[in-house]
């Protein structure tokens, strides 16, 4: 029983790491910039397909492919925010029309993926996928361990960037007080462009992790919409540390419920935990 508990705990922590990887970009765009990027999971799927191409044709490791794709996705993010700003935010139309805009982007991405790759499932195979290491009674599959490590590294890098650089601190400031930021000599639009670019760049890495976990198809992103937004809210809307903690809590709750009670209850219990948390702490775990 203790072995089972320890394995469920380890599996939950690793799963939480993966959830953190797919959510961290949304923590920036939704949590810090107030942009309801509902297309975030669709970009993750795009990242998966791009990873598949690089892995299949150049033999690149999925994680390396994901890292190499980040500059491309960053540029897409910068461009996308420019369009969003010019079309909606500048005129104060971002609330509903912005949501519709990203919904449209999600739809277009799915159609483009279907037109380009077809509808068949894609997955990648590497030497370490399917292997596991054992620490005492606890088994850690590399398929989950690698995403966890990559998620922590990504979160650490983003945290350091946001807290130690001028642009990073400007990103943290822009959501709170645009006018104060302008008085400090920073352009809020440019700052948001960079922030949104970073948020979208993380989807390339998240996509490479998603395709390591299992097969992907163009509409897979829809399954993750509820979960990623829930983690951002639970973490406290914009807190990188909060996102990591919330994702791991969700992963552990799901894993424990799946192991000891029944997997069909896992999402209900996890989201029930979210509701209880918000009832006690409306701003989320790390919200101010």
């Amino acid at each position: 029983m203790l072995d089972l508990f320890l394995n469920a705990l380890a599996a939950g922590v690793l799963l939480g790491g993966f959830y953190a990887a797919v959510t961290i970009g949304l923590t920036i765009s939704f949590g810090q910039l107030d942009i309801v990027n509902i297309a975030h999971p669709a970009f993750i799927v795009l990242g998966s397909f791009c990873t598949f191409v690089l892995h299949e044709h150049l033999g690149l490791d999925p994680v390396l492919a994901g890292v190499l794709l980040t500059p491309v996705f960053f540029c897409i993010g910068v461009g996308l925010y420019s369009v969003y700003y010019a079309s909606f935010e500048r005129r104060g139309d971002e609330t509903l029309r912005g949501l519709a805009f990203f919904f449209g982007i999600m739809f277009i991405l799915e159609v483009l993926l279907i037109m380009t790759f077809g509808v068949d499932y894609r997955l990648v195979e590497t030497a370490y996928i399917g292997q596991a290491i054992h620490i005492g009674p606890v088994g850690l599959p590399f398929r989950m361990l690698v995403p966890f490590a990559v998620a922590m590294a990504t979160a650490g890098a983003i945290y350091l960037y946001l807290s130690k650089t001028f642009t990073g601190r400007a990103i943290l400031a822009v959501a709170q007080d645009r006018l104060a930021l302008q008085l400090m000599g920073a352009d809020p639009v440019r700052t948001k462009q960079i922030a949104f670019g970073i948020g979208l760049a993380t989807t390339a890495i998240a996509g490479s992790l998603l395709i390591m976990l299992g097969p992907v198809e163009p509409s897979l992103g829809r399954l993750y919409i509820g979960r990623v937004f829930a983690i951002v809210v639970l973490g406290g809307m914009g807190s990188i540390g909060g996102t990591i903690v919330a994702a791991i809590i969700l992963g552990v709750v799901e894993s424990m419920v799946a192991t000891f009670y029944g997997p069909s209850w896992a999402p209900a219990v996890a989201f029930g935990f979210l509701l209880v948390t918000l009832a006690v702490r409306p701003a989320g775990l790390f919200g101010r």
Binding site: L4, N7, A8, A11, G12, L14, L15, F18, Y19, S82, V83, A86, S87, G104, F107, I108, E110, V111, I114, F117, G118, V119, D120, Y121, R122, L123, V124, E125, I129, G130, Q131, A132, G139, P141, R143, M144, L213, G214, P215, E217, P218, S219, L220, L223, Y224, R227, E254, S255, M256, A258, T259, F260, G262, P263, S264, A266, P267
Partner: protein, 425 residues
């Protein structure tokens, strides 16, 4: 004159693209055909061309188009050309009733067939029943057990008791071993097909006197199956019956190998372990799994016309982003139209009742063998094959085009190899 900035022009173009894409999915999907002097026979259906089942749905559509072209070359139905009217159901059951209502009221199709899979077949039933249409069904598991519709005919060879016949082979194989397995774990997706398959497996397990030590479902968005596999491992079952969809099947196979699940017989109802895309990547990790299938390139399954059909399919599938082999669903997608078309020509009319009576009372030659229907519209003799992965390596897809990689263990009539038992060794 209205002037737009570059950004706004770009946004307008983006909007126009979205609008065009929406129209593409919303408009009836019909290939343009040359004008014919005769009124075409219109066959209507929904098909999963986007969403989770699109991989199989698009492959089915290619097979159906091959039949349409074949029949039109041969003079059509009743001397009239055949035309399809179909819509993308987006793998969303809630779209299906609307699609069939439109097909029968606005498009005025002459015949209807189902889209792919249980979740898409069931929602169409009330609509086609209200119009008393013959309804050929493509892989709906135990759908007619709820409706008892006499004009329903299922091309999937699940058998007259589809819920339990589906997994009968898996349990028969298990109980034929010495010593007999004593315990079984049942696990599956929280969805229509999987629940039906699990109900049948439960029935078969009780019939065999097996103790069910684990019996649970998991939600659609399950990302990691390791906790589920560990929970099953903790119960130490002799047999594990899994009813899963393609992404789950891949996740299960990987988790089973990572955890080192010690079962003697494992598999049963895993959808996706027939798909080329998953076979080629999962490779050697599949060895030992015993799973259902409907056609594999084994010497016992050389039905008349099936290889000729597969050649055509494989040619058309190139570059389409669909299953390049087409062993699983396409032969049956061709066969259900072949059967319906032959019935129309034999009866000499599109009268739905005459067609239903003919289909019910005759044996039909198709590319998937001879088909005879039981009163409930299922095959009168079950032929849900149980195959075992043997000698699979990580060399890719080509190996699966040869005999010996998925040997047929059940039914006896189609058997092509012997069981490697127990699984864990």
């Amino acid at each position: 004159m209205i002037r737009f900035s570059a950004t706004r022009r770009w946004a307008l173009k983006l909007g126009a693209t979205a609008f065009a894409a929406a129209l593409t999915l919303a408009a009836p999907l019909q290939p343009s055909s040359a004008a014919s002097p005769q009124k075409p026979v219109k066959i209507g259906f929904s098909m999963a061309l986007t969403g989770g089942l699109a991989g199989a749905g698009k492959a089915a559509l290619i097979a159906m188009e091959i039949w349409r072209d074949d029949i039109n070359k041969a003079g059509g139905l009743l001397g009239r050309p055949v035309e399809f009217v179909y819509y993308d159901d987006q793998t969303n059951p809630s779209t299906v009733p609307g699609i069939y209502t439109k097909l029968l009221t606005l498009d005025n199709v002459d015949l209807v067939v189902s889209g792919y899979a249980t979740n898409m077949v069931a929602p169409a039933m009330p609509i086609v029943m209200s119009r008393k249409m013959v309804f050929m069904s493509l892989f709906g598991l135990a759908v007619n057990e709820k409706f008892h519709y006499p004009n329903y005919f299922q091309i999937m060879p699940a058998g007259p008791h589809p819920r339990s016949d589906w997994s009968a082979g898996f349990f028969d194989i298990g109980m034929a071993q010495t010593p007999k397995p004593a315990t079984v774990a049942l696990v599956g997706a929280d969805a229509e097909f999987a629940r039906n398959a699990l109900d049948g497996a439960r029935e078969n397990a009780n019939k065999a006197g097996l103790k069910i030590v684990y019996d649970k479902t998991y939600p659609a968005a399950t990302a990691d199956f390791t906790p589920i596999v560990r929970a099953i491992q903790a119960e130490a079952p002799d047999m594990v019956f899994i009813a899963s969809y393609p992404p789950d099947s891949a996740g299960m196979v990987r988790a089973i190998n990572e955890v080192g699940l010690k079962a003697k017989l494992l598999g049963g109802g895993m959808v996706g372990l027939q798909y080329a895309s998953l076979l080629s990547k999962l490779g050697a990790s599949l060895n030992g799994i015993v799973n259902y299938d409907f056609w594999v390139p084994e010497p016992t399954l050389k039905f008349e016309g099936v290889e000729e059909f597969l050649k055509k399919y494989q040619e058309r599938a190139k570059g389409q982003g669909v299953d390049p082999l087409g062993y699983y669903l396409p032969p049956y997608a061709y066969a259900y139209l072949q059967l319906l078309g032959n019935a129309v020509n034999a009866v000499g009319s599109l009268d739905q009742q005459k067609l239903a009576d003919y289909i019910r009372s005759h044996t039909h030659k198709t590319v998937v063998g001879d088909v005879t229907f039981a009163p409930n519209g299922e095959w009168s003799t079950p032929r849900a094959l149980m195959v075992q992965f043997q000698g699979v390596d990580d060399s890719g897809l080509e190996q699966f085009t040869h005999a010996g990689k998925r040997v047929v263990l059940w039914p006896e009539q189609w058997k092509s190899g012997t069981l490697h038992y127990p699984y864990a060794q």
